[in-house]
Amino acid sequence: MTLLAALRGRLAGFVGDFLATWLLGAVLIMAFLAFNVLFLVLAERKLAGHFQRRVGPMEVGPHGSLQSIADMVKLLGKQILTPVATDRFVYLLAPLLIFLPTLCVASLIPLAGAEAFANQPYGLLVIVALSGVTVLSIFMAGWSSNNKYSVLGAMRSVAQVIAYEIPVLLAALSVVMIAQTTNLRQIVEAQHNTVWYVLVQPVAAILFFIGITAETNRAPFDIPEAESELVGGFHTEYSGMRFAMFFFAEYTNMLVLAALGATLFLGGWLGPWLPGPVWLLIKSYAVIFVLIWVRWTYPRLRFDQLMSFAWKVLIPVALVNLVVTAVLVHGIG
């Protein structure tokens, strides 16, 4: 921490105070997220292997631990193809843009009492709004590729994310009602005073979990990229590092939403002995473990089943949960 402060001071001499903080924060977050993606891809493959009584990658490094680095080098070395029929500007913009909202959201998650990168009074609202933007670049990618599978995948993605954003928001809202604030740091502090909200709001926690599974386009809700139907979905026409950017964004989104879930329901950075950010990471990775577990357990839903599940089950349940919470909070408080 002191090293960081010194570095920031040195930087501030050149580019000014604000820019120094901004640069350092961006570099730190990007570096961590890049590492996280490498780790998550490996973890996903190893866990997938063990769920299926295999062992996953074993050849590169001890127990295959350097496999994702080899994969990354391979992707870097690949030729980047641009199909002729694409809408070129949008096609090139989409992989860059998809990463932006995720990065913004990552900087809004409170890491610990004081070291949060951005302490927003409306943090939760901003996060929900920004994570809705991700779908825009997915649709841009699908539409500009000028490929029927890409368009289908993108359209499914839009419909799915819009449908599942609502239960996520309603589930988060019932937490907000108890904590009486949308500031994420204050939500965690409120859990410090009482109990973790997963105990108070189990239904909302389950709804939130289902919602983030759908929002990160993961099985059993991986309809936008259903391999057996849509080749690769919205990123069919992307190759090399452009494809890697989508991959990067997907896994980063997983971590960010898991961290949001941990913040809302599992007490964020709270925990004994270890420093706050470590606890937040442990809880986030626990949520991600369950996400991976779910992915390798359930088959993919059909599209109409997916939509009717959102609109007929999740949203009514979330609304009832919200009303009950409101009545109880009003009655007690």
């Binding site: 866990l47 063990h50 769920f51 295999r54 062992v55 779910v294 357990t297 359930y298």
Partner: protein, 151 residues
């Protein structure tokens, strides 16, 4: 009642699914590290090969052409000649075109000297059609007619 019960059954089935995969997560692997580990192929019926009899150190093919006649796919090309001072024929050519062999085993059954058997090779791969023709006398050295001690 009906819808709640169905909902409960559905939700419980999801938990059961997680339990099944979770059980297998903590169990060991059932796979082999293939190129590093080899499976036990002793009961595998691979491409036909000639038996090496321990008593003589060589095969006992008398070039009777029984396998050529019985083979439903015409896999074999067998030629032989009679060595000096021997009553029996010896094979000089024994080719098996594995691309047409269906591993039916009739040649193994019909061989009067029991010198044909299934091998345990299971991972053969070729780049050209010609490579699928196995020269079964190859393991027996440069001059397969007289390799080892003829019976």
């Amino acid at each position: 009642m009906g819808i709640l019960r169905r909902f409960w059954i559905g939700a419980w089935s999801l938990v059961v699914g997680l339990k099944v995969t979770g059980y297998h997560l903590v169990r060991g692997r059932v796979t082999l590290f293939y190129p590093h580990e080899r499976p036990d192929a002793s009961h595998w019926n691979g491409p036909i090969e000639l038996v090496t009899f321990p008593a003589t150190g060589t095969h006992d093919c008398i070039a009777c052409n029984a396998c050529v006649r019985v083979c439903p796919s015409d896999c074999f090309t067998v030629e032989g000649k009679r060595p000096e001072g021997s009553k029996k024929m010896r094979a000089t050519t024994f080719l098996l075109d594995f691309s047409t062999c269906s591993l039916c085993g009739l040649c193994v059954d019909v061989c009067p000297t029991d010198t044909l058997q299934y091998s345990t090779r299971y991972d053969e791969a070729f780049y050209t059609r010609g490579e699928t023709v196995n020269d079964l006398l190859k393991p027996f050295g440069e001059d397969p007619t007289f390799a080892g001690k003829p019976t």
